[in-house]
């Protein structure tokens, strides 16, 4: 009996040993690789024409192997056809994504127009709307003629859009043994080799960004800016100032190379344009507002400011919502693609955008409530925009916690900045554009250098430097220095260009309307028609009442 037990135990032990030694051996035995051939593709079932003619209510037949484009109809579907289709699908997804994002950004013009018009007096409604309307025309024309070429003319290699290899010439200066990219030279009038599908997508997306920068200025200069001067100034911004900084940051220019050339993180990083779009617009707005001077009645003889309320807060807050909606094109669209190379991060970017906008409005309303005892509607709107502006540069590099902090800080910052600019500098900005876009744009640039968490991966590198963009709080102080150099360039170069050019416009054309025109309102004298012809317009505090229409 005992022998039988031992035999069983011995047999069980041998079996266990065989399984233990045999299992890995079986795992190592992979089935032999069978190459997928064109012949296999012929076996893929394709629904017949008769089947499809019966309709496809369940959606199970539409979209099949028969829809793959074949190079040679006689040869039928080949492996090369499938691979080509996969590549084209990736680029098609990226094209559609970028174009739709661009369409959203274009619609932001409507938001800017009604925010600015609502914050101005009714007697200037037509003039303010027309400035916002025509930045689209003037800006686009300037950008098509030369702006796009200066900005993106040397930016070949954007893989998400198929490479855009036609944009292959950047003018560079060699100083201290380093190349300093200054501006691009391909793409004027979108002619010659830049008549290219990828270049067209890039042009549309970049054009609506430029347009956003130009429309920022109209808000700060509203209610006193001569229309002709506005047209010239807008053309210059769209043709020269914006594209130059855009090239340095996004077109392969010297700021983007601070990492590769000087070891400062990944160079100047501005994911969607806190600096390129908003600070450029905001600093130009500051320059123009300083040259124009404040509106009549804004300041008393002792320098104390008077509030000049806008005429329609409903328009203002509706416009803010439109802008917040458009921002989902602005930030996530700046990946220039949805497929491949880490572009699936678009979800994080959209959430960051949403969070920062919300905490921005929360920060601003909290500040106003604590300081003045009432939640202020227009500053709540500006807080929302401030949060969105501040998250624009870091949106692709930070986590949701960072986005919440950045937005909240921007909401506070915009209120402090509005007070500083109005009361200390005595610069009149009817809509708060300098603070929202200038101050918070610069803050957004700085925030990249602080909050970038090193988790993003857009194809393994950014600005030619391997790895992820990482800010000071996550271990890379070099990135902070690169961002500070970018801020210095915005203030030192962009502001200077805008100030000098607009001073020349002031000397040769004149920037400001006459006092009579300003008091009457700019609608009739400048535009030839009133915004609200059947209203009775009253200007409080100035003892002037203008009765119009019926």
């Amino acid at each position: 009996m005992r022998d039988i037990r031992w035999r069983w135990l011995w047999a069980a032990g041998l079996l266990a040993a065989a399984i233990a030694t045999g299992a890995p051996a079986r795992a190592d035995e992979e089935p032999p690789a069978v190459p997928l051939t064109t012949a296999d593709l012929k076996q893929v079932p394709v629904p017949s024409t008769e089947d499809l003619a019966k309709g496809d209510p369940g959606g199970t037949l539409t979209g099949n192997a028969g829809d793959i484009v074949v190079a040679d109809s006689k040869a039928g579907l080949t492996f090369a056809d499938v691979v080509t289709q996969v590549g084209q699908n990736r680029i098609a997804i990226n094209f559609v994504w970028t174009l739709i994002a661009g369409f959203l950004v274009m619609f932001m013009q409507a938001g800017f127009a009604i925010v600015e018009t609502g914050l101005c007096r009714a007697k200037n409604a037509n003039h303010t709307m027309m400035m916002n309307f025509m930045v689209y025309g003037f800006g686009l024309f300037a950008y098509w003629v030369m702006g796009f070429a200066l900005q993106q003319g040397g930016s070949a290699g954007i893989a998400n859009l198929g490479g855009v290899q036609a944009l292959n010439n950047e003018l560079k200066l060699t100083l201290f043994g380093k190349d300093w990219g200054l501006f691009g030279t391909k793409g004027f009038f979108l002619a010659d080799t830049t008549y290219d599908v990828g270049v067209m997508v890039l042009f549309l997306f970049q054009m609506v960004f430029m347009d956003t920068a130009t429309t920022i200025v109209t808000g700060a200069a509203a209610e006193r800016w001569k229309y002709a001067a506005f047209a010239i100034s807008t053309f210059f911004l769209g043709a020269i100032t914006y594209p130059l900084f855009g090239n340095w940051a996004w077109g392969g220019g010297w700021l983007s190379q601070l990492g590769a050339n000087f070891g400062l993180g990944h160079g100047y990083c501005d994911f969607a344009g806190s600096g390129v779009v908003h600070a450029v617009g905001g600093l130009t707005a500051l320059a123009v507002s300083m040259i124009l001077g404040p509106r009549i009645g804004k300041y008393n003889r002792d320098g104390s400011p008077n509030a000049i309320p806008g005429h329609d807060i409903v328009l203002v807050l509706t416009g803010c919502f439109i802008l917040a909606f458009g921002w989902f094109g602005f930030n996530p669209g700046s990946t220039l693609g949805a497929s491949g190379a880490g572009n699936l991060r678009i979800g994080s970017i959209a959430v960051n955008t949403m969070l920062a906008g919300c905490t921005g409005s929360f920060g601003a309303i909290l500040y106003m409530w604590m300081r003045y005892g009432k939640p202020d509607a227009s500053m709540s709107g500006n807080g929302l925009l401030a949060g969105l502006v501040a998250i624009t540069a870091p949106s692709g590099f930070v986590n949701p916690t960072g986005a919440v902090i950045i937005g909240f800080a921007a909401g506070f910052l915009v209120c402090v900045s509005v007070e500083f600019i109005e009361r200390v500098m005595k610069v009149d900005d009817p809509v708060g554009a300098i603070s929202v876009h200038g101050t918070c744009g610069l803050f957004g640039v700085l925030a990249v250098g602080l909050f970038a968490d090193g988790k993003s991966n857009y194809g393994g590198s950014w600005n030619g430097v391997e790895g992820s963009v990482t800010g000071l709080f996550y271990g890379d102080p070099g990135q902070l220095v690169a961002q500070l150099i970018g801020m210095c360039t915005l203030v030192g170069v962009v502001f200077t260009l805008s100030y000098v050019f607009n001073t020349l416009v002031d000397v040769f054309v004149g920037q400001r309307v006459s006092a009579d025109v300003e008091l009457e309102g700019l609608d009739l004298p400048e535009m030839g028609a009133l915004g609200y012809p059947e209203f009775q317009l009253v200007t409080p505090g100035l003892g002037r009442s203008i009765e119009v229409g019926g």
Partner: protein, 64 residues
Amino acid sequence: MKALGLVLVVGGWVIAVGGLVASEALALRLATALLGLAASLGGILTINQGHNEHAIWKRKGALS
């Protein structure tokens, strides 16, 4: 005043970029960038001071 301000604004940028090529020490580059930014912002305030000297609300007979 305006010209002095403009010199400060541009000078700030020159300081910041100059720091890049003057040294490879990160601390020095950080210091020059901060100094340059402060100078440029100070320059803007100086230009603004120049504009406010003859501001519309300071003029005799100005509507307020």
